[in-house]
Every structure is written in C-alpha cells, then in structure tokens.
Subunit: 395 residues, 2 copies
C-alpha cells in the first residue's frame, strides 16, 4: 500500500499528522469537501485545489447509479473522469442507501434498495462495494456498514453493529488493490458498551484507518461528542480517525479537540447555496436586508476570492437575482473558511495553543440552531424505521 | 469623449477596426457577452476576460429594478459593482420594457411599464434612461427607442420610428457625461424606405455610433440580413455599427460580411445552459445519448478550459445530474467558440480572405432550426400588440 499516516504532534487528545496517499500528502486534521456526483458543486477541480484542498470525498452510491461504475472505470477511473489529481475518498454507498433510497431491506448478505433517480431495484453487498470502489480508484475506500437510527433499541443497534462487523470482515477479504487504503466504520449508536465492542472487533481486523459512523443523526450535540471522544480514545493512535458527516465549523473544532483527524460534510457547500456564509461570529444569511447596501465583503479580513473581489451588496444582489455565480461565490467563501479553520487548528496543535484557540473561537462564535436541519435528516431515519424493522437483520 | 473608433481594414463591406473606450481598446468585429444583472451568467469577470472578452453588455432595465440605479452608483458604479475593469455597454432598457414587462404603454413623453419582478409601475423617458446609464457609468450607452412588431402596419412602424427619432434627439440633449459614447438606434421595421429615413434622421444628429434595432424578432433570416445590409451600407463609414440581439455563430458571420462591427446576444450563454454546445458543424446537444461514453472533448481541437480538461462524457454526466458546474463549463465553451470565431473573422478581413472563410464555414456548419426560439420571442411581441395599439403613440 502506497498510503500511510504519521503523527507530527499530539496534544491532550488532538493530533496533527499527515495522510500519505498515491495522490499526494494531506495534512491532518483535514476536512474533505463533498463531491457526490464527481464534482464539488459549482467548482472546478482547480478552484478546489486553489482554495486549499488536497482531498475530496465522492459518493459511490451516486456514481454507481449515474453514470455507472463500469463507465467511470472505462473512462480511466474517477480521478481522470473528474480531472482531479488530488486524493479521493469514496464512501461505500451504505449511508446513501439508508438515507436516499425509497426502499432499503437489510439482510445478512447485503442490502436491497431502489434508485432515488428512477426507482430501479439494486442489491449491494460488502464484496460489491469494494469492487465498485476499486474500479473507481479512490485513494481511501470505506467498508459497507449499517447505520441504525438514533432512538433504535439497544438490541436493534446491537444487531446492526454486529452485522457491520461481519460486513467489515467480508470487505477486508474482498479488498485486493494495494494502492487503496481501506477504512472500517465503528458503529454502536449512543451506547458506550456497543461502541467499545465495535472498536475492539474492528481494530482486531487491522484496517488502514477507522471512521466513526452513525453520529450526528439527530442525537444532541453533547452526546455526539461524548461518543466521538470515547471512541477516538480507544482507537489505535497510529491510524487515522474519521468522523463521518461532520463539518460545521464549531463541530470541527470540537472534533479536533477530541482526537479526530478527518471530517467530511456537505454542510459548508450546501448552506452556501442557501446563502448562509461562515464568519468568525457564526453563519450569516447574505439575503438579509442588512447586506443590501454593504460596500464591504462579508468577512472584512477574509482573503478568499469572493471577499477579495466583491462587496456583500453584490453577493446579496446575485442571490436576490438567483444568479448561478452567487452559489459559486458563496461556496468558495465557505470552503475557504473551513480550509482556513483547519490550518489554524493544525497550527494551534503544533504550537501547543489549541486550548487558547478553542477558547478564542468560542468567545466570538455563535453556533446556528441546527434544529431544522437535524430534524430533516432525522426524518428519513424515522421514515426508514418501518422498512428497517421489516428487513431481516439477523443476529 | 475618451471613446473613439477607427478602421484598420475594409473589405467589400466587412470592416476590421478598434473601439477605443475608457476601459480599454476592443478589436472589432466584436461580440458582447450579455450580463443582464451585472454578471455574465455562471462566470467570474476574470473568466470572461480570460476567454477573450474586453467588453460586456449589461441591462439598465434589470439593474434599475434590482438592485436599483442609485445603489449601484453609491457603490461606485457598475464597473466596481461587478468587479469588471473592461468596457461595458448598457442598453436603454427600452427593449426589455417591451419584451419583459407585463404592461407597457408608449406615449410621446415616455413609456409606462410594470416590473416583471413585483408588478410595480414605472415610467421611463429618454432623459431618465440617459440619467440611469450615466449613473451606471458604462463606456457606451444607448438611446431609448420603440421597437414595433415584425408584422405591424407600415403606418404603425412609421409612428414608432418617428417617435424613436424624437426620443433620440432628447437623449442626445440629456447626455452630459463626456466619458460615455452615445449610440442611436435605427428603426424602421422591414421597410427599406423607413430604414433609409431613420438613418438619414439619426446620422444628421451625429451620434458616436449606430445600432440597428428591431431585427431578429420573427422575420425570416433573409429579411434580417437584407435590411441589415441596406442599413449598414447607408451608415457613416467612420462610426461603429451595432446589430442588436444577434449572436448565433452563423448570424455573426453573415452580419460581419454585411459590415456590422458589434453584436450582442444572450443566445450563446442561454443555449449553453440548456446543453447546446457550439461546434464547427453546428450546435450539439450534450444530453444526447451519443455523448454518454465519449472519452474526447465535445470539440476535438478546441482549446477552451472545458475541452482541454473534461471529456464529453463528464459534461454529459454533469448535465444529467443537473450539476451547476455543467452550466459553467458549457458557457465557457460557447463563449470561447464565439471569441475564436470573432478572431478568425477579423483575421480573415485583415488578410482579405473573408469570402474563403465564409465559404469554408458554410461547407461544414449546419444551422439549428430556430423556429422554436423565434416563435417564442415573437410571441411576446404579438402579445404586446394589443397594448401597443391601445397606447398613444403620436405621429
């Protein structure tokens, strides 16, 4: 395997390191912009790189349904297809099957689901997800896991977690490509006991890295970070730790403090397209009338292209007029903000000033009430429950 | 006036020249990308410049309604607002009032219309349109004109043309800014007689340039170019000639041959967003299944960013997935194609090879049937007719 990970500095729990991949070395802690369909929405690969990213995430589920894994492989693999010469992490598609498919039936062998595009029926197994990801050619690939709902019973979460372990083992066996690192996904819901068992079981199999899955799906933030901290603390120090689906600025700071190395989330780019721009005081909605006449950039000292070039008034105008450039400029700003945050956090770890940085961050930052977003995310998990219950998760 | 125009080479009718503006010298024949709301849709100003454009068009009508002329002026004028340091031409808003407003009543004093955004009522006069355009600060500004429908009676077209002349005179008197060139607009429908009278009347007032308006609104192509040729031939040789609203590749070639120096149209960018890409064989729809697996760029030897970087298959995939990057990449390609065409046409004029270029162009190019587009454009003019009739255009 051409991939690797080494630590440069360790604080109380936080770590600064380097992720070595066949497509470049990525400083950690790192945030991965999400390019579900093989594009970080609105941006060219050059822009993503210029903003400061060396690694992105792509969704196997989306690429499997469209344009199809075989086609991407025939066209030279995902890097060539999307003209991105940096590193790529692909997820297994499992999470999307649970969240996007209008049907999903989990069995021992795999998961049956329907395309959210055309309703066609598909079957995904641990072996198939590895085959897909090997064909896409990402630098880091993920095992297939089962993600239970936040308020599922202990027994249900236990069954899902144990199935996740058996699938992880099957993924490990199926994985042939030496150029791709394979990460396992720790499950166990909000149960300390199940999380411990999941860590023990998966680390015994020896993966290249470990993700913490099944969090940030409706549970209180306090619980998210309590479970993340407990889990991270039990993971091997010499392997990268990846907190999946977390990417709000405040959550990145709290995740880093608890020893997380990798984050991904569509949040920074998605909220950008809705006009929510990150500032050190919190998110600001550019559509707010206060920005109509503002001759300054949205963040005075920001050196992203958007803030260097345009006034908040112009951005407000573009959003009001539903101009496509608006979504681009906002995406550039938010991704730059996160890249800047990652660099600051990493420097603070190396300089032993992370506590001070965190205190300073929270002295200014007002987190956005995430209730709406979380409840929407939660809704599908609730909606899926009937189907999960009727599925045949064996124990 | 800091603006000017001089010819470098004249062929049978075609001319190569230079338009001098306070924001740079623009080689002619030139095509102006349309940035109605102060943005060439999907692109940054740097990209527009990099593709090869030194001048864009912005719509006074759109900017008047949103964000408002006073606000743009307060923020330092249109160049600063949209961060474009090249030249800008603004139209008077007249055409948009006729085409976009749900109400428009023309009288001697001016035109009453309703905002297509919120239905609010507004009144535009020749003096106001000059005041607006002076505040926006464009390099070239246009008089307010009246655009009759293609099949209006001779008498009706005559009344509209004569009112256009009186408004042109009022615009000329109202125009104070010496940094802005003022262009008149020749009307007269498809009547050779009225066009001749319009040219005589307007050239007697001595404007900085002359546009040919009221064409490409439903009449057969043959008629468009017959009238354009007749009109151009009667305009003073030392002033730039601008054929408004024309921008399909084939129409640019035919316009240049007839002595046109300036073109503008939203067509290249609008059709791009619908997936229609220019090639030397004609327009191609990237959503066509033939492109699903095509490993090559849409135009093999094209050196635009899109064709240099991505396969047709990737662009097809982005369009299928309704990814915002799709619209950007297609816009870049089409605007690059037109910029390339303008450079080729200009070189052919200078090298005395325009006839050969035109022949070669038509030996490959299959024009798209524009029936759908033209009939849509025509529809509003037909729909307006009742209102025009009930208006009080005096003679």
């Amino acid at each position: 395997m051409q991939s690797g990970f080494h630590l440069i500095k360790t604080g109380d729990s936080a770590r600064a390191g380097e992720l070595i991949t066949p497509h470049g070395t990525v400083p950690t802690p790192v945030f991965l912009p999400v390019g579900s369909q093989g594009t970080v929405k609105t941006l060219t690969p050059e822009e993503v790189k210029e903003i400061g990213y060396g690694m992105v995430l792509a969704n196997t589920y989306h690429l499997y349904l469209r344009p199809g894994i075989e086609l991407v492989a025939k066209l030279g693999g995902l890097h060539k297809f999307m003209a991105w010469d940096g590193a790529i992490l692909t997820d297994s598609g499992g999470y999307q099957v649970f969240s996007l498919s209008p049907l999903c039936q989990v069995g021992e062998e795999g998961v049956k689901f329907r395309s959210h595009i055309d309703g066609s029926e598909h079957f995904l197994t641990p072996e198939l997800t590895i085959e897909h990801q090997e064909k896409l050619g990402a630098d880091i690939i993920m095992v297939l896991d089962v993600c239970p709902a936040y308020d599922d019973s202990f027994e249900k979460v236990q069954r899902a977690t144990e199935l996740t372990h058996r699938w992880a083992e099957r993924c490990r066996k199926a994985h042939k490509s030496k150029n791709q690192a394979l990460f396992a996904i720790v499950q166990g819901g909000v149960s300390t006991e199940l999380r411990q068992r999941s860590v023990a079981c998966l680390t015994a199999m020896d993966f290249d890295g470990y993700a913490i899955g099944g969090l940030s799906i409706g549970e209180p933030k306090q619980v998210t970070f309590e479970i993340a901290a407990q889990t991270a603390a039990r993971l091997p120090a010499d392997k990268p730790r990846y907190l999946m689906g977390v990417g709000a600025p405040e959550d990145i700071v709290e995740g880093v403090v608890r020893g997380i190395d990798i984050f991904d989330s569509a949040l920074p780019t998605r909220v950008a397209r809705n006009g929510a721009l990150f500032t050190w005081e919190g998110r600001r909605n550019i559509l707010n009338a206060a920005y109509r006449r503002m001759d300054k950039p949205i963040v005075a000292d920001c050196d992203c292209y958007t803030c260097r070039t345009f006034s908040a008034a112009y951005l407000h105008h573009l959003f009001k007029g539903e101009e496509l450039l608006a979504y681009r400029l906002a995406t550039i700003h938010n991704l730059h903000f996160i890249a800047d945050l990652m660099a600051k956090v990493r420097n603070a770890i190396i300089d032993d000033t992370l506590d001070g940085f965190r205190e300073e961050f929270w002295s200014r930052y007002q987190p956005t009430d995430e209730k709406t977003r979380v409840s929407q995310k939660y809704k599908w998990l609730k909606a899926k429950r009937g189907e999960l219950d009727s599925g045949s998760v064996s124990t």
